[in-house]
């Protein structure tokens, strides 16, 4: 079955969506990420959608589900690279993605995850 690759980097899982996802492909990503968070003991998930030229209600809901599920599994999800035209369209469509944290690009997304994730001594890392 067709799948979107998930890379592991330390305690993060990185996904770059490079194809126009049909619905089942998006659902597969949701399932795969949920399983990989547990299997790889991941603390953060970074999803780069800068290559996506549209996000409809289905893909929006899948991204939101991924964020919710990762939180239940004690991991944080950040979605990066939303194109301006996509953001404008999402708002007009009425999609608010309430559970999703976003950042402009991969670098700031990783920085955001680093701030969100507690360091091993239990304190939130407050470097900015």
């Amino acid at each position: 079955m067709e799948r979107i690759p998930i890379l592991k980097q330390g305690d993060l899982l990185l996904v770059s969506v490079q194809v126009d996802m049909h619905d089942q492909l998006a659902l597969n990503l949701q399932d795969d990420l949920t399983q990989r968070i547990v299997r790889d003991n991941a603390r953060g998930v970074l999803i780069d959608i800068s290559a996506l030229d549209m996000v409809d209600s289905f893909i929006g809901r899948v991204l939101d589900n991924i964020a919710t599920m990762s939180r239940i599994l004690d991991a944080e999800t950040v979605v990066v690279g939303i194109q301006p035209a996509v953001a404008i369209t999402l708002v007009e469509l009425g999609i608010t993605l309430p559970n999703i944290r976003t950042a402009l690009n991969i670098e700031s997304g990783i920085a955001l995850l680093r701030r969100l994730l507690p360091t091993p001594d239990g304190d939130a890392d407050d470097q900015s």
Binding site: D20, H22, Q24, F58
Partner: protein, 133 residues
Amino acid sequence: MTKADTLPIHTEEDIVRVRQMTRSLAQQSGLNLVDQTKIVTAASELARNTLVYGGGGHVILERLQDAGRAGLRLTFEDQGPGIADIELALRDGYTSGKGLGLGLSGAKRLSNEFHIDSRVGEGTTVSIIKWKS
């Protein structure tokens, strides 16, 4: 003057093809990037409704050239169960399934013109137009 293409909508991959064809016709019609994205997203919502609720159907894609105006019209047709209460179906947040209930109302907001014609037991036709701004 119009040129029409028809695409079937029977699988999830067909929804992707509808998006891609809509994008390419929107570009050819001279729509700007935001308007392209809006009509592609509306097309995706309506194609999914055709598949999920209409039991499949097709879309007619037409480039419009009207008194100097350029635009794109998409007409989604199915012979499914139809919609008993169109006003309710168009309400933000109403879904008979497990969606967000934003597809129809959102597609209407994302378009310049929106028409829906549905008969219970006969099927549904939804047509949208995006004009070049």
